[in-house]
Amino acid sequence: MSEQRAQTSIPATRPVERRRGWWGWFDPRGRRLGGWAFALNRLTGLGLVAYLYLHLGILSLLARGPDAWDTFVDIALNPLVLALDVVLIFGMLFHGLNGLRVGLVGYGLVASRQAALFVGLMVIGAIVLVVATLRVFA
């Protein structure tokens, strides 16, 4: 038995850490409604924070007098900017309504029907979005 070890000396394989990471939030394979709600909530949240800073910046134009403000209004009426306004409204509606779902479900209310609740709130949001779009472009 001299050439043979009376025990195995092959080291146990060290497992390799793997996590999908935040980019995994947007992987569509296997993704269901709730997962999209989560991912979109992060995106709209970041978008709204960015918009908040933009909005404060725009309001500061008021302090620079009527000329600066008038220039801004001209830009703001540009159809491209109006389209971005619609995107903003979508972000507010989605984040708010999904937030309502997260709040309700997150405290154990309506938890068993969370997917249906999501669909229902998005339908309401879609209606409001359509009305808002029409008014923005009127």
Binding site: M1, E3, Q4, R5, A6, Q7, T8, I10, A12, T13
Partner: protein, 395 residues
Amino acid sequence: MNETASLRAPAHVLIVGGGGTGGALAHDLLLRGVRVTLVERGEITSGTTGRHHGLLHSGARYAVKDKESAVECIEENTILRRICPGSFELNDGLFVAITEEDVAYEPAFVEACLESGIPARRVSRAEALRLEPHLNPEMKLAVQIPDGTMDAMRMPLRFFATARHNGAVIRPWTAVTEIIVNSRTVTGVRVRDLTSGAEEVVGADLVVNATGPWAEIVARMADCDVPVQPSPGVLLAVRGRWCNMVLNRLHPSGDGDIIVPQRGLSVIGTSSWVVENPDDLGVPEDHVERMYSEGAKLVPAVRNAERRAAWSAARPLIGSRGASTGRELSRTFKCFDHAETDGVEGFVTISGGKGTTLRAMAEKTADVVCAKLGIDAPCRTRDTVLLPHSAYYLN
């Protein structure tokens, strides 16, 4: 006390096969002071052990025709409840009479159970239907016996967890590629770690072949003969927990005559045929159909229950060649000391057994192994409570 043994370094036993038998044997040998390495080519219990329906056997099925097996079962049933607390659904079971022929079988059945030490209680039709409302309303009477449900993977895993904790080297994903034989003595095995491709030779004072239906294939690697043939049976899991008690047909055994509840599923088994290759069992669709039709005789609702899974599990069938060779350690399992059967020292094959008797099988095998190694140590597994199964993963 064997003085020579106490001066020697602890003997090293290498077990090939990570099923219930291997795990229970590793646990037993460690408590006797033996050093153990266990190698398994796949996941622990991925052979036959993990696949059965999970019956914690009362032995009642054997009582009439094979009292020795029945006694062994009820004894092990009691021991397992003690050493694996919290691992079973303990709702008892019913043997259900559907036909007049079944009814006629009942008195002999009850008497045989009681003689074997299996508590058995006759239950009227009305009471049986109150206990298990989904039973076939045409049933005539039933007998209550102490069957139970086990988790076929997690219960054996407790033996592995305890063995690992006590110092056994358990290596899954490790295949045996060669059995080293020097001068008609097995001195070790060549293994390949499939997670890395690394190979080496591991020495041992004794190698145990505990590979179930693969026993013959492994024995041939040491130039030994073990007449074990894989004999698979089909099992069917349907959606729905149709019973809390294990339901058996009250007749001498046949196909599809047991339904075992497993969480939200009901498992119906089984059938029987013979194959050559334990890695290629097949799942004959007509056998699956038979599970549906026989199961429906006990619980009509299974007929229309959605199929969750249909699979095969292979029993190790000891062939007629084995009738004259090998040593019957009990009616349900057999040990082949290859020094006696093939003139090869240092190599033992253990074969047979049921899920419920894994501890007894290990005890008797450990007795043989220790006798061969000159170790005098009693078995301590009857009263050693096992670690929880999750401890296996947390070293």
